[in-house]
Symmetry: C2
Subunit: 360 residues, 2 copies
């Protein structure tokens, strides 16, 4: 699938050209603390080194790297935000070290290879936005053989959850179908046209919107009712685009509550800053987007509703497979499939289910 | 400016591919009644005629034309909504008369010229979406010399209004700037980076968003404080794309209330279905989107806030000029400029002002 750059800009990059949007990311304390600590607690990774910041946005990561002692930082940004990054670099007196380059990382050229590639490329449930592709491209072209990635590792997690969202969305879905029925009656009555034949199509459109599209949510830890399972682990130094283009994993999760109604699954990610094998971090930092009372992130979790919800007891297991592919229409959006059954502690198998979702 | 079709689809057409969006238009009673009446009270315009429906969406207008006695209706739709239109035509037993063609009107070919072109092409403040370009293109290629346009005429109106929206948006704008200041302090304090230098750019971004972007609103008639003025009149049979690419008009409006605080201007439109000079409508129908208590439309009015607001008395006049051009980045969006002063009944001139707005 060839990506039309103009379309990609209209759909994806345009939002990043707003300071408002950059500010939202810059206000996410968990995100900011993790990157800041990963750099300043591991200054030996940056002192006198050359660094590439892929998608510098406001320039924040590039500036930190320079403050931590980098000799040279290339800060590449596809949107006009590059101009603000340049302003910010100058106002913080780092124009001798940080060079802001406007362009997509796929198109630009650097005068040298770098020791470190830093980037904040993570989207909802890690891979939405598919920006890791660009970081991999940068790595293959511009990282020295001895170089390291910041972050160095990433993982995707899923867990069964309880939540009122399930019933809420089902109610919204049902109301919208009742409203449709009224609309069909009215249109027939007032305007002499019978639209009943579109009811199935409208139902499909609504199912997709209300039930099959994952929801952003910041869950409380006690909404997680089973032991979280890892469905993907990634070494940023070696991962290829093929590794992430489609994922498949088996999972099994034991119910950790006495009893609960499972509304569906939540998906989230964490990344780690470990440096490289030959030059490990002195202080290993973790950035986690797991459900958390005190440390929510702007990423939150993605919720995939089960339809219908089902009852579980402590000791039951949910076992199955998870897969993720890219949307054919827009490579930055994802399709997810859960296939699972409930294994009672008695050994009985129940609720064999396959559900598909869109991360839009 | 060459329009990239892929980008145009991503930005514009995609929404029309949802039944949800078509349903919103099909639920607008004022819109529906006007088109329905214009057709069924003027059946002589359709009986045994050939019709072209530009942008048929669900197919509703094409179906009405067929029901009114058309010999043949070509129903052209750029999006996959064409498939639903085809279903609907068949379910209403009109597949012998209505031919649904998927494609943009600019690209498709018809086997014959037509007697009537019908289309619901109007966007916010008439010209947003620039779909009239496509209707003009269709007319120049496919309308018989004796043919007629449905609607046949269109007008744009402006009037000074009072509204709480002005203060609300100014408050929102100011809160957002206070929040920015806190953000700058926090970022400096916690993360050692001074973002103060971006304050002017953030202010501009926020001014644009909160103060210089027109607002959708359904105003009450008594919020209109001056006699509405026409800033554009258009004969759909003869208008060219050059006529609408940029507009310039002088206007003058007399305050019709004893006293009021003017929060800005509202803009709206109406269209008429008059048939043609040689074959006029028997019942002339008007579709108006003016402020109205009982007949609001999904178009509402566009509100352009004056900054600051100003006091007027009965008999005062607001006199000035209005202009509208297309956004350079997206030809379907508009830029508007108001230049005006207040002429007191004493003859004194006050508040000479020029303000620019975006219709996004
Ligand atoms: N292929 C690419 N080339 C250059 N910039 C890209 C890119 N893909 C995404 N980006 C940019 O990467 C940024 C990701 S958001 C992160 C911004 C900044 N590094 C911070 O941590 O605050 C956006 O500004 C986006 O425009
Ligand atoms: N250039 C073009 N060619 C074909 N269809 C177009 C078009 N520009 C806009 N459209 C379509 O025109 C429709 C306008 S909305 C009106 C829909 C329908 N006629 C009704 O009155 O309910 C949308 O469905 C849009 O996809």
């Amino acid at each position: 699938a060839v990506v039309d750059k103009g379309v990609d800009f209209a759909n994806y990059f345009c939002t990043y050209a707003f300071l408002y949007h950059q500010k939202e990311m810059l206000s996410d304390r968990v995100r900011m603390d993790a990157y800041c600590m990963s750099i300043f607690k591991n200054k030996h990774h940056f002192k006198d080194k050359t660094v590439l910041d892929v998608g510098t946005g406001s320039g924040i990561l590039a500036i930190w790297c320079a403050q931590a002692g980098a000799r040279k930082v290339y800060a590449v940004e596809a949107t006009k935000m590059s101009e603000h990054a340049r302003q910010l670099v100058k106002a913080n007196n780092l124009q001798g070290i940080v060079e802001v380059i406007e362009g997509s990382i796929e198109d630009i050229t650097l005068p040298e290879k770098v020791d470190v590639i830093i980037s904040e490329w993570m989207g909802y449930f890690l891979l939405r936005e598919s920006m890791l592709d660009s970081v991999i491209c940068a790595r293959d072209r511009w990282l020295k053989p001895t170089g390291m990635m910041y972050p160095s590792h990433a993982r995707m997690w899923i867990a069964p959850i309880r939540s009122g969202l399930g019933n809420q969305r089902k109610n919204d879905y049902e109301s919208s179908m009742i409203e449709w029925d009224n609309f069909v009656d009215d249109t027939h009555h007032h305007y002499g046209v019978n639209m009943r034949v579109l009811t199935d199509s409208y139902r499909k459109e609504n199912e997709k919107y209300y039930l099959q599209t994952s929801l952003w949510s910041n869950l409380e830890p006690d909404q997680v009712v089973g032991i979280p399972a890892i469905v993907m682990e990634l070494d940023c130094l070696t991962a290829t685009v093929d590794d992430i283009r489609s994922l498949n994993a088996n999972f099994s999760t034991s119910i950790s509550m006495e009893s609960a109604i499972v509304a569906g699954f939540a998906g989230w990610f964490d990344v780690h800053f470990r440096g490289s094998q030959s030059n490990p971090a002195q202080h290993e930092i973790e950035l986690s987007t797991a459900p958390s009372r005190n440390n929510p992130t702007h990423w939150g979790q993605q919720v995939f509703l089960s339809n219908p919800s089902f009852i579980v007891k402590g000791g039951d297991k949910i076992t199955g497979s998870f897969s993720m592919t890219r949307s054919v229409e827009n490579h930055r959006l994802l399709n997810v499939e859960f296939s699972y059954h409930l294994q009672k502690s008695s050994g009985q198998l129940l609720n064999s289910t396959t559900s598909r979702f869109y991360i839009d």
